[in-house]
């Protein structure tokens, strides 16, 4: 019973294409995230949603559009893919209680390669 699951795990696509990565969590958490880990292994937040509401939007190109149909799902759609978008994208979730510290539960990652 996977806590945070994302699909696909591997994605190879050509420049200019549009692709989506889906994510679901069964932990009952209110907050979900998308993180990007680049070739230098630096893990950087892209978006955060709380109960379907966008609360963090880092300086990400508007080709990236997250969508949260409900609090258990957060999908990432990427338009007009570029070579520089090649990275590992991690979906994650955390409980809402900020006073307890936002311990983050990560999915296994989606390896995106743009050729």
């Amino acid at each position: 019973d996977t806590a945070v699951s994302q699909t696909p795990k591997y994605l190879v696509t050509q420049m200019g294409n549009d692709k989506s990565i889906k994510c679901e969590q069964n932990l009952g958490h209110d907050t979900m995230y998308w993180y990007k880990q680049d070739s230098k292994k630096f893990l950087k937040i892209m978006f955060s949603y709380n109960n379907k509401e966008l609360i963090i939007n880092e300086t990400v190109p508007n080709r990236f559009s997250p969508k949260s149909p409900d609090k258990a799902h957060l999908n990432l759609h990427i338009n007009s893919l570029e070579l520089g978008d090649s990275a590992v994208y991690f979906c994650a979730s955390s409980p809402r209680q900020a006073t307890s510290g936002n311990t983050i539960y990560f999915g296994e990652g989606s390896w995106l390669t743009v050729v």
């Binding site: 893990l43 963090i56 311990t103 983050i104 990560f106």
Partner: protein
């Protein structure tokens, strides 16, 4: 903006020794500091969280310290085992903020 510094060079230690990893931060003092483990090809996994008013936290062979004066956290693994080989990420969050910022991680290699 908040900056986290971890030694990006790999740390090699002999099995059975204590591994000590360092996390330094600049600017604001975080309300919480966390450590995660990441294995190749996997997502990070939470290990320990320490609050700003705590000096030390332990969990089995793991120990984390938090020194707000030095702006530093140390992560210790005692009696290290080859299975402890992984990359360890430091992460911090400011009070009242949802955002958690990660360091680049330190790769630990435990040699049998």
């Amino acid at each position: 903006s908040q900056k986290i510094e971890q030694n990006s060079e790999a740390l090699n230690i002999q099995e059975g020794k204590t591994a000590t990893l360092t996390c330094n931060y600049t600017n604001y003092s975080p309300a919480y500091l966390q450590w995660y483990r990441q294995d190749p090809g996997r997502g990070p996994v939470f290990l320990l969280l320490i609050r700003e008013n705590e000096k030390e936290k332990r969990k089995e062979r793991l120990k984390v310290t938090f020194d707000t004066t030095l702006k530093q956290s140390l992560f210790h693994i005692t009696a290290s085992q080859p299975a402890d080989s992984a990359t360890y990420l430091c992460a911090l969050s400011l009070r009242g903020y949802q955002k958690v910022t990660f360091g680049i991680g330190t790769k630990l290699q435990v040699i049998p």
